[in-house]
Symmetry: C2
Subunit: 243 residues, 2 copies
Amino acid sequence: MKIDPRKPADLSAQIAQAIRDAIISGQLIVDERLPSEAELSDQFQVSRPTVREALKRLAAQSLIRTQRGASGGAFVNRISFEDAYSQQITTSTLLLSMNAVSFDTACEARFALERACAPLSAQRRTSDQLATMRAEIFRQAQPGLSDEAFCASDVAFHRALVDGADNPVLSYQLAGAVEAMQPLMNMITFTARSREEIIALHNQIADALEQRDAAKVDATLVELEAYTRKLAEDVAQQFRKPA
Amino acid sequence: MKIDPRKPADLSAQIAQAIRDAIISGQLIVDERLPSEAELSDQFQVSRPTVREALKRLAAQSLIRTQRGASGGAFVNRISFEDAYSQQITTSTLLLSMNAVSFDTACEARFALERACAPLSAQRRTSDQLATMRAEIFRQAQPGLSDEAFCASDVAFHRALVDGADNPVLSYQLAGAVEAMQPLMNMITFTARSREEIIALHNQIADALEQRDAAKVDATLVELEAYTRKLAEDVAQQFRKPA
DNA sequence: GACTTTTAAATGTCAGACAAATAAAATCTC
DNA sequence: GAGATTTTATTTGTCTGACATTTAAAAGTC
């Protein structure tokens, strides 16, 4: 684990990369304690603040955790799916908002991924997950529900669908796509009429999953995608020629 | 943008979160310059090293970039798809290696996502992308190719397939799944026989894409998934009862 | 006016110090 | 001696102040 002394700038970045590489390559294993900050500054021949900046970079990526006190220090962190979720959601959200990804592109990606889960979910969904979906549908039908709450329930519904595939890697990959779209979805005003339509489709999906009918889930998701895009198109229209 | 003075520990984490929230919520827009470190330490009533640790956390997530010199400082960064790729690959790789995700689970997720791209790719793939895939197939057929190089070419082939969908969000989401699996794939020894089989399937996929036959691409991907799992199973067998 | 030099502002780095937390060791009490 | 308490050492968290380096803009020079 060494750094290049010829490039003097960004020592903390270099040190972070060196430690990161050591973790990824398996030289440092989970829960192993890194040398203390003082020892690291000795090893790398830099000051402690510089080492600390490097460690904070790694902490930001959940690669390490730190503990104070005697026998404390920095430990290689076992990244949890939750950590990975939240990081991916942050990244995806910014990516969508900053890079001017069109609603259609994001929507297409989201439903493509969701359709990828559908057959597995039809096979494996538990009755618990089905109950969650039914509960969310019930919530969505409540009158007086705000648009934000409706969207949040929509996300919960689709997460249950994805979790039904019983593949944590898929759940993780999709969390980003689904949750990152929420700000975009929140721009849509859900009228009573459109909610009714969406709820009907959600019910169709739940029914199809109950019967383990993968083809019908898929077909309904296609319908839902088309309808979602149509709603977004309507919003775009309104912006173009406002009342 | 404030921090809670009641929780004295981890000031830099709190400050990082405050700035992160400001960026995500749009209070700080792309390319906007943050206050200087001195000003930030004034605002948050902390020392400059603490502010710096916070900024390094954000830099690790590519949320900001810094420039030295007069009129330098920290600027809100427009996250590029490339940045997002590499972050996701890092996270996914660690997630797979640390959480003991089974090969089957990872493989299932990867092919499910890839199959989600297939129909779009069949519609939209350019002749360039097709040429890339052919070139990689040619490379895979070279005798004397190392297993690692074969794997790398395999990844390049599948990335071309995914990029054919012409949806950067999908490409981004999938990059993690495909690239993160490479270490797992590298454990497989590709015999001349198995390479032949894989190349044949790759050729089938390329042919089907050339004819824009989505159904055949999908069917071949299913075959490829089954074959990949079989190879992994053979490796597992060997480990169980070594010669 | 074009080129060079100076200057000021900002990040990058360092050294040394103290505070706070924490676990282990030492001490005390019964 | 066992258990409770205190002390101590280690480690991270934070602060202060300083200097180095980079860079753009201002000032100066021809």
